[in-house]
Amino acid sequence: MEREAMEFDVVIVGGGPSGLACAIRLRQLAAEQGRELSVCVLEKGSEVGAHILSGAVLEPRALNELMPDWKEKGAPLNTPVTDDRFLFLTETRAVRLPTPPTMHNHGNYIVSLGNVCRWLAQQAEAAGVDIYPGFAASEVLYHEDGSVKGVATGDMGRAKDGSEGPNFAPGMELHAKQTVFAEGCRGSLTKTLFERFRLRDGVEPQVYGLGIKELWEVQPDRHHLGRVTHTVGWPMDTATYGGSFCYHLEDNLVVIGFVVGLNYTNPYLSPFEEMQRFKTHPAIRDTFEGARRVSYGARAISAGGFQSIPKMTFPGGLLIGDTAGLLNVPKIKGSHTAMKSGMTAAEAIFELLRAEDEPGKEAVDYPHRLKNTWLWDELYRVRNIKPSFHWGLWPAMAYSALDSYVFRGKAPWTLHHHPDHESLKPAAQCKEIVYPKPDGVLTFDRLSSVFLSNTNHEEDQPCHLTLKDDTVPTRLNLAVYAGPEQRYCPAGVYEFVTEAGEQKLRINAQNCVHCKTCDIKDPSQNINWVTPEGGGGPNYPNM
């Protein structure tokens, strides 16, 4: 099929903190050195920020470097952290633990990362970046020599059966000298690059957590501006990696979220319901007395850390941010590292194009530059904390203390990971978990939650949750694992229904919030998440 093409110096896929920081830094360098450099950012969300879901406590380190005058420019960093708590929960009690050194938040800000990205997008546009929200990059394009030529945006207006609807508009090709993949955790194009360029050879598998988050407007007397609380323990058993975050933002808003390690083993576990149950803890529920839930969403997070970082460059392009797993895992912080990697990549690309202004080259200098920044040192030091959770919560806490206080992250060994999709045990070997019914006040069901994510997809389009083999959901997933997709999907997309006496998987793709969990956790990796029509997906405000 003939598609129109547009040419840029640099095309960036994804308008998150990494992609936007990269775009801004490129234009800054171009302005400083008086060079023409066209930079374009594609974002699958209906606007920048619409698909961003984070905690978030932001370390301003990278932002300080990128734009020291962010305050004057009105960056939405309004709430400094004033109070830092770390709790261990049992079913009925909360024990305050000393805040681990990796969790100290002095000098950090509680933000909506989505709003920070909205602001970064304004800065980028002012610096001359072309940003196209509502356009998903659905395909990587290659030159004949195998180097990356750019990306193509998805077709618009295809019907469910793949035929061209009345308003059909074919996708566009965007060609670039360098294509930057900034898709965030489990990027769908990045996944294809891993295979094509064997970028994961010799590194540990990436592992993930699923973060589920709600935004609440609480009563003023329950609000403590600047308070940060993290918990471990209940409702997770000690063998499952998981914990909560709770941040008090401006305007009486409180963020509450729960992260479950996707290496959990019991297929009956439901991260969504764990989150709902968690809120009922006596130490937690008080905050939400008389409060109103205003938003809901979920997103996977890379948790492999240092040992899972893939090769990040290939001819014609590179990876930045969370799609490369550049995240500080014990801190669950990745926005500062995402930005820093984007800025470092920008510098490497700028130098590369200055020396050789042609497509298809490899910015080999980028990883070297990155290794000389604080980012690398930071990720290296904390590399053993998450994998130690394989041993269970208490040994891991003990190990983490030893690792952080005694070795200061420089222990002469590195712990290993196992891929998350292999961790489920057959249902027959596991105990079913009975979750309490939602009360509609503090705890909710999936559908009323997804409603608050403002998610929508044009209904008449090919399903973006593709199955490699249609028989696997019932033959394997239901028969052996009791249909785990009904439980891990935080948006209720997967449903087993009985039709004409036969059990079948129904996929309510319209509800998908693009968290990518199914792409990660499906036991036989049978689900392949691809980009739907641009603009589809959640419309998160303030997340």
């Binding site: 209906s46 403002n454 998610t455 405000p541």
Partner: protein, 249 residues
Amino acid sequence: MKILVAVKRAIDYNVKARPKSDGSGVDLANVKMSMNPFDEIAVEEAIRLQEAGKAGEIVAVSVGPAACQETLRTAMAMGADRGILVQTDDEVQPLAVAKLLKALVDKEQPGLVILGKQAIDDDSNQTGQMLAGLLGWGQGTFAAKVEIGDGTASVKREVDGGIQTLTVKLPLVVTADLRLNEPRYVKLPNIMKAKKKPLDTVTPADLGVDITPRIKLVKVSEPPARAGGVKVADVNELVAKLRNEAKVI
């Protein structure tokens, strides 16, 4: 014939509107905003008329804060030729918008004005009618089909009993209903081109229009929670409940 199209920046149709806790309005902070869907249909109709050789220049107009520039750029990416922003941060009610549009019609002299039948934020459904009244023009509201003839237009409207066809003299005000057309997808290169199309900004004062609100908004609140349904045993019980509890018969 020049066409003027009015486009409003409104809360996106996917977003669940939420009243502010003090009841003073809908919370719009960092909420996705886009072109009112009925206005998109209006723009599409103008473009189709132009493509069919029935119209010349298409001028898109928006009233509101600076952010409405985005809405105008979208209209221009779809195919409008230029944009005019009547910029104000104050509240503008339908009558004020109609007066502002009239002032622009006086200046631009279009042969046709197309608006959405209503905006999905306040659902007023007044601006088009008021504009036609102020101009003393004919109006074809809730249009499901528009055909431009020689000096007149035929407008098909979806009314309760079926389809009503009006023949109206030009110049004319048309308001677009849902089934008038299905707006096209905006193409990437057109978004780029739209950035270079002319966009003028004026103020209500420039146009000599007083936009002081005439209607006072008392309170915005959530609709009452829906009580769960009950099963009735028979018709008698149903009638009794409808009469005594629901008090609807």
